[in-house]
Symmetry: C2
Subunit: 413 residues, 2 copies
């Protein structure tokens, strides 16, 4: 954009920038991944960011899942405003589990679309295609996924011949290369198209497999460091955050600690009296078996519904591994969620435990390594880093991952 202007998006103001802005959402980036990669000496650029830039810690959205947080980051607001609070909700009218991957469920415009409308050149690159439609909703510019990079067309995605441009073969959807493609594309786009604003969003395939500081994790962060170095050298302001953290969900033998909540409720309350929804469920379940640390429970309608909800909540609280049970209203308030898209109860498990529905409905045989997952409060703390010094942020401002555009655009000059 040629001249400085301020846009208001969802009640927050954003100043356009002279330098290109690259916001990176590193999927599943527990802070310790970065710390350990620096300690291991494989991430010189991240180390430089801690010395010459700004390193903050921030809270992500709970449920600490990919879609709610990516949407919060690009809208600058919590799910209570943008509407996406997981991959699934249960539609009480149609009595069906509904996938929220469609942009029609989005209730707020994005910062990206607003700047594109105001004349900025905007580019979005996601790892998986599931996010592309939501992030690029009503946005003019470049928007594609690494997963379907071979199918990108100028008309649909604002760019074509991507494999040639990036110089990489199409990666598998279950690979570290899927994220590498995102970074490599980002560097090529910045060099060739020089977008004013670019949003790069990776996949947590590696983080679900490898603990911070282990060889598989360090290799990923070394790769990322290599591309961040190039983005920085091309003059970009870089803001880096994560959609959520990641923790082991196992015992010392690597066995998953799973609370099969539907089984427990069927036994204690009765079959078909409750419906447990796991909003982590998506079409790509190989790396977590649809097991996360967050669930929502729908109860049948009844005249004494509140009383029943309280009783069932108490039963759930008594299950070992459960950290917190909230009613719809409590959860909507505490986690800033849309009350019409969560169940009567919201259940969060402890750091080392996950919640399943029925044991028979989870196939853990695909898990080749001990389960690591997310979704709970234990995965709420994420990095928030910039390659620039930031101006003073008010002390009472609770930092969120969805402040990354706000801080980069308003506090880095």
């Amino acid at each position: 954009m040629s001249n400085t202007r301020t846009l208001n998006v969802n009640g927050r103001s954003y100043q356009s920038m002279r330098q290109p802005l690259v916001v990176v959402c590193v999927d599943g980036c527990e802070q310790e991944y970065i710390n350990q990669a620096i300690q291991a000496g494989v991430a010189p650029f991240l180390k430089k960011m801690t010395e010459q830039g700004t390193v903050l810690g921030a809270d992500c959205v709970v449920p600490s899942f990919t879609n709610p947080n990516n949407l919060s980051i690009v809208t600058g607001v919590p799910p209570s405003v943008h509407g996406i609070c997981g991959n699934y909700f249960y539609d009480l009218e149609t009595r069906q589990e509904v996938m929220m991957n469609d942009a029609k469920y989005l209730r707020a415009g994005t910062i990206l679309a607003a700047f594109a409308d105001a004349g900025a050149k905007v580019a979005v690159v996601t790892a998986k295609d599931k996010l592309r439609g939501l992030l690029g909703h009503k946005m003019r510019g470049i928007c594609f996924s690494a997963e379907k990079a071979d199918q990108a067309t100028l008309e649909q995605n604002g760019i074509e011949n991507l494999l040639e441009l990036v110089g990489m073969p199409l990666p598998s959807v279950y690979s570290a290369e899927l994220s590498e493609f995102v970074f490599a594309a980002g560097v090529k786009l910045l060099a060739s198209e020089r977008p004013d604003i670019m949003y790069l969003s990776t996949t947590d395939y590696i983080q679900h497999k490898y603990a911070p500081g282990t060889p598989g994790a360090n290799a990923f962060y070394a790769m990322m460091d290599h591309y961040l170095t190039q983005l920085d050298a091309l003059g970009a302001v870089i803001g880096l955050t994560a959609d959520h953290g990641m923790n082991a969900k196992t015992d010392s033998a690597g066995n998953a600690n799973v609370v099969y909540l539907q089984d427990v409720l069927d036994a204690k309350v009765g079959v078909e009296k409750t419906r447990v929804i796991l909003p982590i469920t998506d079409p790509y379940v190989v790396h977590h078996g649809a097991l996360g640390s967050y669930a929502t429970v729908y109860l049948g309608a009844a005249s004494n519904a509140a009383e029943i909800a309280d009783k069932i909540a108490d039963k759930i609280r008594a299950i070992p591994g459960i950290e917190l049970v909230l009613t719809r209203e409590q959860a909507a308030q505490r986690f800033e969620l849309p009350p019409d898209r969560i169940g009567d109860l919201v259940v969060v498990s402890e750091r080392l435990a996950v919640i399943g529905t029925a044991a028979s409905r989870h196939d853990l045989s695909e898990l080749k390594l001990p389960l690591r997952s997310h979704g709970g409060i234990s995965e709420q703390r994420v990095p928030l880093m910039f390659n620039r010094k930031l101006g003073a942020i008010p002390a009472d401002h609770r930092l969120r991952n969805f402040d990354v555009f706000f801080l980069a655009m308003n506090f880095t000059r």
Copy 2:
């Protein structure tokens, strides 16, 4: 012991065993250390334990510190019974911080002493000398620390010429070798003296430095695996647990997240109105800077003391990084602590944060690596493993690390 008998110790019964029993307390052994060592292929014996023995998870005592938990393990009861709830408490009468390392503060006898009195041959080996006196209190048999192995005498420690017996030089108190000496001594003792019961307690020097799965941690668990293999080969029943877990207490740059609670209270309540005690403090602070996730706060006596405590508790709850604030009564009940040895308030910080007193009283310059520490609820989950299959444990039994003797002696035949 020649014939089977049952002893009652602190209200729990323990059967003597035909095979020698070795209980190992691995200091700071977050479960993930074992899982990652197995994944890395460096711990074949631990892997075998997960396949042919029994792997459980258990809750340690909060505060998740070394002394309260080691004493719980050897007495089979919580600190409310044995009296040791940290390294320090504040004596209201003498108005002094009192170190609880002296055995005179112990309010319960140990399982070890009871079996020794009944004729069993008992041996205790600790890493640091601070624990030796407490663990060996009124116990006939062998009891020494690796730290002062060179000073052991037949009269004082039930054994002499230890460096020669073990075949290792005296290790530094800040080293992995201090723990290795404990294991090496255990193997030599089992082979030569064949004690009926042996308790081996290591130090968490390595765990404070290295995250699970990183080279420094895996090397430690490979070493441990080597000695466990030998203990197993010598026919011992092995029970393995930990005093507490361990977590990073830093941001993505490795900077410690510290709540300097005395500074905050001095500013909000007034200087010398409150006294923050950190019961992690001990003479060996180099690896954690006396920073843990647990503190207790003493308030002055006043006619409206309860009201003041409530107000101050609310102020502490509002500090970012604080997970829980309890009154003395609440803490004594929830964590089974002796009310006369904790302050008016008990404060626990979140997984990634620690509590300090005043910033000026903590020297972090000695920390050469990013802070890892413990003390909170986030370090409560620990491994509880046996090299034997166990009989069925009642489903409603909440497993504790201090069940290790109980389960080994009553459930492994």
